[in-house]
């Protein structure tokens, strides 16, 4: 097996770890905010989705690069 495959796989896993941590912290914060202030659920949800989209964008960029490593090898 080529090392490039291993590198791409490890990279994909690291990207997933980062995004998982980020979205987990985000959801924890949002749920705490909602439970403290249930009337603000709409605002919190919108802002949570925006932040989740930004985190996810970075993670997907990492995954795309890993796919490129495999495809263009």
């Amino acid at each position: 097996m080529d090392l490039a495959y291993m590198g791409a796989a490890i990279g994909a896993g690291l990207g997933a770890i980062g995004a998982g941590l980020g979205i987990g912290l985000l959801a924890a914060g949002a749920l705490e905010g909602i439970s403290r202030q249930p009337e603000a659920v709409g605002d919190i949800r919108t802002n949570m989705i925006i932040a989740a989209a930004l985190i996810e964008g970075v993670a997907l960029l990492a995954e795309i690069i890993c796919v490129l490593v495999v495809v263009t090898k």
Binding site: I50, A53, E56, G57, L60, E63, V71
Partner: protein
Amino acid sequence: MAASADAAQGGGNVDVIGHILDHDSVEVPFINAHHIFDGHIALPHFDPIYGVDLSITRHVLMMWIASSLLILTMMACFRRPKLVPTGLANFLESIVVFLRDEVVLPVMGEGGRVYLPFLLTVFFFILYCNLLGLVPYSATATGNISVTAALALISFAVTQGAGIVNNGLIGHFKAMVPSGVPAALLIILIPIEIVGMLAKPFALCIRLFANMIAGHIAIVVFLGLIIMLQSYWVAPASVILAAALYLLEIFIGFIQAFIFTLLTALFVSMAVHPDH
């Protein structure tokens, strides 16, 4: 267990990347005499114009189908609007009202009504492209980076145009840098702000593209496991997981169209009201 030559070499091959890429033919069932599910119709190919190949590919075709479907459904539903909509008109109107009252007006204020037609068009076009990609034998036009780049460029043009129209050409670019900053800091700040300005549409483009690609790759890989492992016993698990992912993809199709619209609205509102 299949004892074919493929199995001896460690399983069959599934063309995962070819499933995602753009081709110059569309797949159509029932036209190939040798294999009912594997037929191809070649699409017209044109000579490059000034070095740019403008041939019609399957993603272009899918985009046309999405646009025609969009026009047809909207005309059928809202040509003669009823006070109390029924059926599809009811569904579409609930989406429009949700986007207007929960997304555009809270983010952009009352001035957002001007941008509402643009944002709704972007939303429905992306939604139709995403959902059309889930129909068997079709392709996802939004899973092509050129399509998402074009959408992001339109969003970028609208953002900058809205800023320039509302704050003037000089005012728009001056408002990107915080006021009252020492001159020495400007040397660092201006490049950062320019990169930030360009990074927004880039992120929009990559996000939509990668989300669409990722889901479709996952579905193909799960179904392809049956062929790769050359075993019937994988099939139930593969099919159940692929069906679950398929349902998730419908959800993601809506979510990504929503996020693209929401972020475009946010960027436009940031350009129009630079102080907050």
